[in-house]
Amino acid sequence: MATKSKRKPISYHLVNIGIAILVLFALLPLVWTLYTSLRSNLAITKFPTKISFSELSFKAYIDVWRDTNFPTLMKNSLIVSSMTVVISLALGTLAGYALSRSKFRGRQGVLLTYLAIRLVPGVLLLVPLYIFMSTLGLLDSYIGLTLAYTTFTLPATIWLMKGFFDSLPPDLENAARIDGCSRLGAMWRISLPLVLPGLAATGTLTAITAWNDVLFAIMLTSSERSRTWPVGLKEMIGEFQLPWEALTATAILSLLPVVIGFALVGRKMVAGITAGSLKD
């Protein structure tokens, strides 16, 4: 017990079992959802459940894609998410760079303010934003929803990008500046290419945040013009008592982009989130 042996002790295997349980806990619900989406409604509601792979089909997916407005809603989500990413990254990279590279007066205050914004409840923002957007005529529009999402993605982007710039040595920029590069030029040509993986991770995180949101979308959209898929799914369930296989098929369809993005840059994303919030 007291000494560390070279052979694998019982605790080694206990840890393995623990890790296996965590993986199953995370994946089984998703796997079951995927499995359900490929079955027929009859089989889903029959008990005891028999697991068989011979009756699986993509029928539910084809039905959802052809007979509902889900493709339109996914397109809306995609557009709004992309616009949110572009705005958040453009503004957040500039601000993150400034906060990382310049030690100006008020820097700490700006950083703290962007952190404190997390305290603000979404519902407190929602009512005034709703009024604001309706005054500007931006209700039920891509740009209105995008601006609303930027309220919570931009502060996060700034913190993340600051963290990624912090991890770059400033020497390279200094060298470029000595060679006659302007400060903006040094940032654009030297730092930005180096921070590209971080930029991709931040962008993906922003996209997922916008893609996943329900609360703001319920409020700020009212028609197919800008309604996003989570609202659509919520309403389909409320109105038509969606059959389980259709419900799960839509769930898997909408989860797909998240999983792909996550598979590509998940590790960097995870590293950025923790690093950004633990420092300072």
Binding site: M1, K4, V15, G18, L22, V23, F25, A26, L30, T36, I44, L91, L94, A95, Y97, A98, L99, R101, S102, K103, R107, V110, Y114, I117, R118, L119, V120, P121, V123, L124, L125, V127, P128, F132, L147, A148, T151, I158, N174, R177, S182, R183, W211, N212, V214, L215, I218, L233, K234, A251, S254, V258, V259, F262, R267, V270, T274, S277, L278, D280
Partner: protein, 307 residues
């Protein structure tokens, strides 16, 4: 960091502003404009609205009524219920997510084959769209056809014919369980990062001194990751209180008012009754509660040190 002042060639005035001592501010202005317009202004308006009577169905105007909304709030039985539910949600949610997050972080800090991939898989629930999380678990915990319910029944645990979602005593724990699945990875991430920051040979030194694994955890790891637990708890509580999404989707406050939490109540006041003033007052109370919790918690944990 002062190379900006070293290279001060006589450039044009405009370029001078960008490149000179206002460089940082020039880069900050675009995001600040956004934040001012879409966060600070709405928050200011929200706080103002909380002192007014603004009911959209009665017309567009709003009347300043001072603290009337807040006075009404403490007489409102639904507000009292929502406050109780929110507290329960916060306490049980925080404890369960922190405990599982810590256990998972300890497990995943071990070196294993594919551990990098495993860590990413375990975090996936946190990024799963809440709509998917909500309906997926509702389906699996459905009283008639839920696979989880059937499995539990098979080993002798029954939730009765009402199941979980129609039982006012169980529904909130149902949502809390789903929230545990979705949100504990957040705690795990923070604690894992903190544990990985502890030098590996520390365990060898304590082992030489005869410390058991538990003692090593209790007296070495725990104090070292303490500050991170505080930070993660505050962010976790903010998340627990501020995002009524799962409750909205899974139970919408029901059955009865058994899962009605404050932000959901505010949401309902705003967008079902169009009572914008009262909804804002509830939101302001939530903001005060969160800020208060954060301050007390930080002080309690003695984390108010500089840097």
């Amino acid at each position: 960091m002062t190379f900006g002042t070293v290279v001060s060639a006589p450039v044009r005035k405009f370029k001078g502003i960008i490149e000179g001592k206002y460089f940082a501010w020039v880069l900050l202005v675009p995001s600040m404009v956004m934040v001012l317009a879409f966060i600070f202004y709405p928050v200011y308006r929200g706080i103002y609205l909380s002192f007014t009577r603004t009911v959209l169905l009665e017309g567009p105007g709003s009347t300043f009524i001072g603290l009337e909304n807040f006075r009404e709030m403490f007489k409102d039985p639904l507000f009292i219920i929502a406050t109780k539910n929110t507290l329960l949600f916060m306490v049980v949610g925080l404890i369960s997510q922190l405990a599982l997050g810590l256990a998972a972080a300890m497990l995943l800090s071990q070196e294993r084959k594919y551990i990098g991939l495993i860590r990413v898989i375990v975090v996936l629930p946190w990024f799963t769209p809440p709509v998917v999380t909500a309906y997926m678990w509702r389906f699996m915990m459905d009283a008639n056809s839920g696979v989880l319910i059937k499995m539990l029944e098979a080993i002798g645990i029954s939730f009765g014919p009402a199941g979980i979602w129609s039982n006012p005593d169980l529904a909130i724990y149902g949502v809390l369980f789903v929230d545990l699945w979705a949100s504990y990875p957040f705690f795990m991430l923070f604690l894992l990062a903190a544990i990985q920051g502890i030098p590996k040979d520390m365990r060898e030194s304590t082992a030489v001194d005869g410390a058991s694994s538990w003692q090593h955890f209790r007296f070495v790891i725990f104090p070292l990751i303490g500050p991170v637990i505080v930070v993660a708890s505050i962010l976790g509580v903010i998340h627990l209180i501020n995002s009524p999404t799962l409750v909205l989707l899974m139970t919408n406050g029901g059955p009865g008012d058994s899962t009605l939490v404050l932000p959901l109540y505010a949401f309902r006041q705003a967008f079902q009754l169009y009572n914008f003033g009262y909804a804002s007052s509830i939101s302001v109370m939530v903001l005060i509660a969160i800020a208060g919790f954060a301050m007390v918690y930080i002080r309690f944990a003695r984390f108010g040190k500089e840097d």
